[in-house]
Symmetry: C2
Subunit: 425 residues, 2 copies
């Protein structure tokens, strides 16, 4: 099994469509599977990740060796590397999914119409989901689990640097799904590891219901622009913290530091700081000193650049997602200028205001159109886990279908069920 399930020799487009058609076939039964059946499969998958850890770690060792031979930076290799501990975390993720309610079958709304027809809107799986992702091989198990629990067959296309890890993980998951009575084709790798297979996936409209790219801005942009399959865009975050005239400045300082430095490589980290002019004399020196103490480079406007060590900011800085110990910073004359700045530069992920002024908070919340708008809280809270969703497939920064952290319900569509007794128009 494993990579032997696939023959990479024939035409990629046709292979991808055949794979998607196997997924479609498997999705029919999976859509009708009970929660008990799906949870049993998730637990079997968790067990198999551990009982067959040797072959997964062997596959991963191949990927790590290849990356080392290619001169890949140490931090990337660290993300690629699997350990017994990381496999246990992957297994625990699958067990956690088994503990979550089944989104499929939930009645979203229902009523009896004037003519006696019974109307119900019910959650159903999408059908076939394609995942295109970079980086860590643990996403392979996470995505497979979330798709299975939400009743979707999944086509996984990880990065080619993790191909042996992913092939081994998927082989294990498929065997476990089958042992639990499901069709093994509910989880499949996309055949081929050149860009052709990504392209084929993006063009498989009608065969694949939804594509979810997870990774850097470049990957997401290319999928969004080239795909004819409907896409859910995830994760680019140029997040702002705006410190209002009426802010508690101690609180503001703590929020800025937390949002910027708690973890820099994530999409909900703050990348830009705006400060109301009324408090800039007091706050700018304090926040610059605190950020610099934490190792952050500040790219500031003329006011900020008056502080030692602050780099002058270009317009580009204000639109950048640094994902590093850097932050852009500017002083704004008032709340509306902060809103205008955010409208211009924000990626629509998470933007925060720090203020004790109820009217300012209300205006900021209403006028800033982002997936999450936070009042007196760190941008780091925009997260499926923090929101209590139990599982997260990504954070949507688009407005269609799902916006913000996506849990299990966001991995479903709905259908209307209309029941009558011979009703005619």
């Amino acid at each position: 099994m494993g990579s032997h399930d696939y023959d990479f020799s024939v035409n990629t487009q046709q292979q991808v469509i055949e794979t998607a058609e196997r997924a479609r076939e498997a999705s029919h039964a999976l859509a009708l599977a009970t929660r008990a059946q799906k949870d049993a499969a998730l637990l079997a998958m968790a067990d198999a990740l551990l009982s067959r850890s040797e072959e997964i770690l062997a596959g991963n060792a191949d990927d790590v060796a290849r990356a080392e031979a290619d001169g890949t930076p140490a931090n990337i290799i660290d993300r690629l590397r699997l350990t017994a501990e990381r496999l246990e975390a992957m297994a625990q993720g699958l067990r956690d999914l088994a503990g979550l309610p089944d989104p499929v079958g939930e009645v979203v709304r229902g009523s009896t119409l004037a003519n006696g027809l019974e109307l119900r809107q019910v959650r159903v799986p999408f059908g076939v989901v394609g995942m295109i992702y970079e980086a860590r091989p643990n996403v392979t198990a996470d995505a497979a689990g979330i798709c299975l629990k939400s009743g979707n067959a999944v086509l996984l296309r990880g990065s080619s640097s993790a191909r042996s890890s992913n092939a081994a993980i998927v082989a294990v998951l498929r065997d476990a799904a089958e042992s639990a009575g499901l069709d093994r084709d509910v989880v499949q790798l996309v055949p081929g590891d050149t860009h052709d297979s990504v392209k084929a996936l993006m063009r498989a409209r009608g065969h694949v219901d939804v594509l979810i790219p997870r990774g850097g801005a470049g990957l997401i942009r290319s999928v969004v622009e080239e795909s004819t399959v409907p896409v859910i865009e995830t994760g680019v975050g140029n997040c702002h913290v705006y410190v209002d005239a009426a802010a508690d400045l101690d609180q503001a300082l703590a929020i800025v530091l937390n949002a910027k430095t708690h973890r820099t490589s994530v999409c909900n980290a703050a990348e830009s700081l705006l400060v109301h002019a009324d408090v800039s004399d007091e706050f700018v020196p304090r926040v610059v000193a605190a950020l610099q103490d934490a190792g952050v480079t500040v790219h500031g406007d003329t006011v900020f650049a008056g502080q030692d060590g602050v780099q002058p900011a270009t317009d580009d800085d204000y639109s950048r997602e640094y994902l590093s110990l850097d932050i852009s910073a500017a002083v704004v004359p008032d709340l509306d200028a902060a809103i205008t700045h955010i409208r211009r530069h924000s990626s629509g992920h998470s933007d925060a205001i720090v203020t004790r002024d109820q009217a300012a908070a209300r205006r900021f919340v209403a006028a800033v159109d982002s997936a999450a708008v936070l009042v007196n809280a760190s941008t780091r809270f925009t997260d499926g886990g923090e929101f209590g969703f139990g599982a997260e497939i990504g954070i949507s920064t688009q407005k269609l279908h799902a916006r913000g952290p996506m849990g299990l319900p966001e991995m479903t569509s709905t259908k209307y069920v209309v029941t009558g007794e011979g009703h005619l128009r």
Copy 2:
């Protein structure tokens, strides 16, 4: 005013983007408008359609004259023609919208997290919506009204055959919106009436938040395939009625006739009939006779083709949306064969089963993955008006965001509002 608002001479792409940017600017204030302000604008728009009916009818007369000179078929000209009565219906549509609840601001879900953060998911407008539509000029007022009520600025691109009607209607609606205190740019025509302007709209990603094509299958397919702006696909319906072994055959006959003949040009009309083999001896002759009496041509399999006047069906017939007094028909050996046939041929709009058997109904509802699945009711009920939505922008046949009839809530996105008191991770 009217078409004079636009200068068609410069580069189309740039013009469309400039128009979208005016819409974006107008959308900021519209998103914050109260229901009272929006309802006042809708009522002013309704009044203006009637008080300025002369200029609208004059514009329409130009379109009708041009269509007649081009030799356009009479039924198309009838759809293009506006009358005092049709203007009154358009005005009433806007008044009805004023009576509906405002979707914006609705709290979809909310909770207090373990750490005391307050989480609310709130409906917000998309921002800028693009409508591409064919046919009747009344869609211009309907779409403008639905977008306004849901807080969205709209860019309207009707068919060029209705350009003078649409320009006159939009000029009237813009004046009325302004008179009610809104920015007139909440409603705009897309400049240009060549295909270039449609193309420019489809490529205006980042400037336009959602595109909704309404019209024939060809229009919708081209928008879905070419657009980089997210699209909500509407309206192609190859709808089935399956008559089960356990059907009440009188009821089945009435449902087939209603679904096929009540109105043939609509997406929720039945296009295909499946009959369980156990009742085919009795039902096939009855249904063929009744359909033929109603003027319907039956395109049937070998069993149906045994009846006088039935045309032999090709595989293509089973996938066709006739939109006419034609129906494809086949006998199936059992319920699962009906489900398999529907999976293969249905457009995923509306499919119905007629049966007294609870288990058969349950299995059909679970296994048929269409926007609406009906039990013992005509497919004609899949409709925003019938479902009690009060307004409908179209019927989505895609699985992302909205599926089935789309009312006002489906014209919104959501955002998360997170409120704390200095919360850090």
